[in-house]
């Protein structure tokens, strides 16, 4: 398996506040990798580092090329980032959101998005901001697919959603991974669902990787069980 994304000793800060203190992690092509950890551990910042929203030092290599300098570049190279809080264009229609998702590619391929989210066709002229939270999360996912990404960065897809909707969303992510080989790096507060749906996981604490391994191994780990799984 080829290594699609590799972070080595990545440091990041917002102003004077240092958030990442040397994070190293790797994602193999075709894998789903999850990042767990408490609030403020730097999970979101790790994703933002990959897409270049936050300035970093250290090395971030995607598919043999350096990324992490600008989001535009990451998008062009095939990284689709679904940010925390959905990041849909709320004033624009569902269809316009999808068109924007395909901004970096020559031909917009609506078929793939509609395969996974057929209801989008019926709501195409509705403003994205008027969709429910779950629908917006799905729209954000659909929009990310429009660019035919090689790596999907998913930030807290379960945030504020009902468990049944969270289940549906992870179901779709799993299908994308299994049927289409999409590589996914997902940040989650909900450790249970994240470990259920990933092969490999990293636990971040205070801006450092505290632990990593296969999801099965992490499930068995005493400290992970107590801190994140709650039993």
């Amino acid at each position: 398996m080829a290594r699609l994304l590799e972070l080595e000793d990545v440091h990041a800060q917002y102003g004077q506040v240092r958030v990442l203190h040397g994070v190293s992690l790797a994602v193999e092509e075709g894998q789903v990798v999850s990042v767990l950890g408490p609030n403020g551990a730097g999970k979101t910042t790790t994703l933002r580092a990959v897409s270049g929203v936050v300035k970093t030092s250290g090395s971030i290599v995607f598919d043999g090329r350096k990324v992490g300098r600008s989001p535009e570049r990451a998008a062009r190279l095939g990284v689709a980032h679904v940010p925390e809080g959905r990041g849909t264009f709320s004033e624009l229609t569902v269809w316009e959101n999808l068109r924007l998702g395909a901004y970096t590619v020559r031909h917009a391929d609506f078929e793939r998005a509609l395969d996974h989210f057929p209801w989008l066709a019926r709501r195409r002229n509705q403003a994205a901001g008027t969709l429910s939270g779950g629908e917006q999360q799905m729209l954000a996912l659909a929009r990310a697919l429009m660019a035919r990404p090689r790596l999907l960065l998913l930030d807290e897809p379960s945030l504020g959603l009902a468990p049944i909707v969270v289940g549906e969303i992870f179901e779709i992510v799993r299908k994308l991974n299994e049927d289409e080989g999409l590589t996914v790096l997902v940040v989650e507060q909900n450790a249970n669902i994240a470990l259920d749906n990933s092969e490999h996981a990293y636990v971040l604490e205070a801006g450092r990787v505290a632990l990593h391994g296969t999801s099965t191994d992490l499930r068995k780990d005493e400290s992970v069980r107590r801190s994140y799984l709650g039993y």
Partner: protein, 296 residues
């Protein structure tokens, strides 16, 4: 004072033509306001400057080639201005950017006077001032021409924003810059293109206004105030509002000054200011703007 239907119709049409001038400039203000949250106080002086460029070009070529060339120059100039002057203060406070645009206004005003002199000049109109009679009403061809040019401009912009990928990216960059970058839109360039388009709108409004009010370095000062009034009336964040506001304001101002002797020509400017004040007091979001609700 005449108060016949045909006279009113005539006043309405001539109001629509000045309204078209206000609408174009108001639209320029709205374009920049939507993407940067700042009023470009230099918009009027930029328009005057480009109108002077058109005036110079018209000594070497006929009207419409000069018109198009001026639009191109204005576009390039607007883009260059954003890249060089506005970009460095992009992340500064609103007040800083406002001061920069005020400074730009002075620079352009001074430059116009320095290059072309302060005297008042006549400016060619592509349309004859001859009236045409429709159903007993005399319309001036010039008024109809100005209305047509403004309409064409607005429709072209509407098509750009509504149906092209670039237009969609321009709208996205204006409302959600962070998300736009994540889908690969070069937001910085979109802002620059916005300035370019605004400069073109200003140039057209200047070239349409110049035959009516004559060309001098202060030509657009009053028109910019009316454009402010129009933009605020329509809602500062609504492009359609700017057009509706501009036309409404043009017609209203024309009717008021024609039929209310007390106002006449001299009190037009205070009427503009009164409109701004009243709208801000009664309906701050304007006719078609969105009310911003801040949740704390």
């Amino acid at each position: 004072m005449l108060f016949t239907a045909s006279d009113v119709a005539q006043q309405v049409v001539s109001g629509l033509s000045t309204g078209g001038v206000y609408a174009s400039l108001a639209l320029a203000l709205v374009l920049i306001y939507r993407s940067t949250g700042v009023i470009n106080f230099a918009q009027g002086e930029m328009a005057t400057f480009t109108t002077f460029i058109a005036w110079s070009l018209m000594h070497h070529m006929s009207y419409w080639p000069a018109f198009l060339l001026t639009c191109l120059i204005a576009f390039g100039g607007g883009v260059a201005l954003e890249r060089t002057v506005i970009r460095p203060v992009e992340n500064a406070s609103v007040l800083t950017i406002v001061i920069v645009t005020l400074g730009l206004a002075l620079v352009f005003n001074g430059a116009s006077a320095w290059i072309w002199g302060a005297e008042v000049r006549s400016f060619k109109s592509p349309f004859s001032t001859r009236p045409i009679h429709v159903a007993g009403v005399a319309f001036s061809i010039q008024d109809l021409g100005i209305i047509a040019v403004s309409l064409v401009l607005v429709v072209l912009l509407g098509l750009l924003f509504r149906f092209t990928k670039l237009g969609l990216a321009l709208r996205a960059a204006a409302t959600n810059p962070a998300e736009s970058r994540l889908v690969g839109i070069r937001v910085g360039w979109m802002l620059a293109l916005g300035w370019g388009l605004a400069a073109v709108l200003g140039a057209v409004s200047g070239m349409m206004a110049a035959p009516l009010v004559f060309l001098d370095p202060n030509m657009m000062v009053a028109i910019l105030l009316y454009a402010f009034a129009a933009a605020i009336l329509g809602g500062l964040d609504s492009p359609i509002g700017a057009v509706v506001g501009g036309l409404t304001f043009g017609v209203a101002l024309n009717l008021i000054s024609a039929y209310w002797n007390f106002v006449g020509g001299t009190l037009k400017l205070p009427v503009g200011l009164t409109v701004i004040l009243l709208v801000l007091l009664v309906r701050p979001q304007g006719l078609l703007g969105r009310r911003v609700v801040r949740r704390v």
